[in-house]
Amino acid sequence: MTTARAAVAAVVDPEIRVITIEELGILRSVEEEPDTGRVVVTITPTYTGCPAMEVIRADIRRALAAAGHPQAEVRTVYTPPWSTDWITEAGRAKLARAGIAPPGPVRPTGPVPLTLTVRCPWCGSPETEQISHFGSTACKALRRCRSCTEPFDHLKAL
């Protein structure tokens, strides 16, 4: 039987299907009650309005049921707020391989300055420009590479 932790950690993000929720840093804890076998999973959203949360909750329950843990509860917490700094190194590498430029380190509070060097995930060139602050999902911006001319997503530092 797969452990509850391993089953939940393997759930992939429904909108960026190359990365698991653990690598994305939104999985906060998995606790199994010894007496009942009931599993309590705690997750946090990337963005408050992220529409993928419903799907993620359902996927977690399904994964747990398949791993022999039919009794599961998924809790959502908002504090401390998710940060792109929580994306693991393995997660960043997977994003880049999928053509999504990983986020840089988060800066302190205040206005968000323009990111100066986001490398093209396709050709590696630093000569890229932002097309739009907001991309295909709330957590991504849209950029274009001036060297290879390919457009690409960039996971915004948050």
């Binding site: 963005y47 408050t48 529409p51 908002y78």
Partner: protein
């Protein structure tokens, strides 16, 4: 619906708002404050979503929809919390779908029509210049729930402020025509900013304390955009007491029609 049809000045609210009865610091008072923030976010989300498939370019269409989604996310958390504090068994859906316009506590700014793209950007600039310091202050307030919501929403609002600032600079410092329309938009919407910063010393965060940050953000962007900060003339308000422009009723009709026709519908 109790829309205000009589208007002598465009978008003016003529009725005398009822005074808030709750004693300082009471739960009722705090519910009203949280409901105000929730309704700001909910109504702003609905207005911004109206740009979906109507944006001037595809990237902007996506951007405005994303910002609407952020506002909706904050609205859901705030509505849920307001409902729990109220203790009358109303959840986020009951509060969003089953209140009439006089029960909404949003500021008038967010319910104003989208106008042209410049008006939408002026509205977003002022809203974000208010929400960023507001959420930042909430993140450090004594109410744990509000602090958590503030810490989360602050980061998203920073992107909204950045986005609106970018467009206001681009349009204001663009062609003669874009400059003219951006200034006209700022002039039109400016009076409604005063309601955002009206003093409320009993609130978890007194909006009047946000004035310095608001002014510095807005004046900086307008100066770079070669635009003029308007003179303060009239200062319409009433939204925090449930006295709105007629525009809110139409917006709510669209927002609520499905739920009112089919209570509890989901898909």
């Amino acid at each position: 619906m109790t829309a205000h049809a009589e208007q002598t000045t465009p978008l003016a609210v003529q009725a005398t708002p009822p005074t808030r009865q709750a004693a300082p610091g009471t739960v009722t008072n705090r519910v009203g404050f949280v409901l105000g923030l929730a309704d700001d976010a909910l109504v702003a989300a609905q207005r911004l979503a109206q740009w979906c498939t109507h944006g001037p370019e595809m990237e902007e269409d996506i951007a405005l929809s994303n910002i609407a989604l952020d506002q909706l996310g904050a609205a859901r958390l705030l509505l849920t919390y307001a409902g729990e504090m109220e203790g009358a068994g109303r959840d986020e859906d009951a509060l969003a779908y089953q209140r009439d316009d006089r029960e909404f506590r949003n500021c008038l700014l967010v319910e104003l029509p989208n106008g042209d793209f410049a008006v939408t950007m002026a509205k977003l600039l002022f809203l974000a210049a208010y929400q960023v310091p507001l959420y930042t202050a909430l993140a450090g307030c004594g109410d744990e729930r509000l602090a958590a919501i503030g810490a989360k929403a602050r980061k998203e609002s920073a992107y909204h402020l950045d986005h609106a600032s970018l467009w206001v600079r681009r349009l204001g410092d663009g062609t003669d025509e874009s400059h003219r329309r951006m200034q006209a938009a700022v002039d039109e919407v400016w009076p409604y900013t005063h309601e955002l910063l009206a003093p409320d010393p009993t609130a978890p965060v007194d909006p009047a304390t946000l004035r310095v940050d608001f002014d510095s953000a807005v004046s900086g962007v307008l100066a770079e955009a070669t635009l003029t900060v308007p003179e303060t003339s009239w200062t319409p308000d009433g939204g925090r007491n449930g006295v709105h422009t007629e525009h809110l009723s139409y917006l709510l009709a669209e927002l609520q029609v499905l739920h009112r026709a089919h209570p509890g519908a989901s898909w």
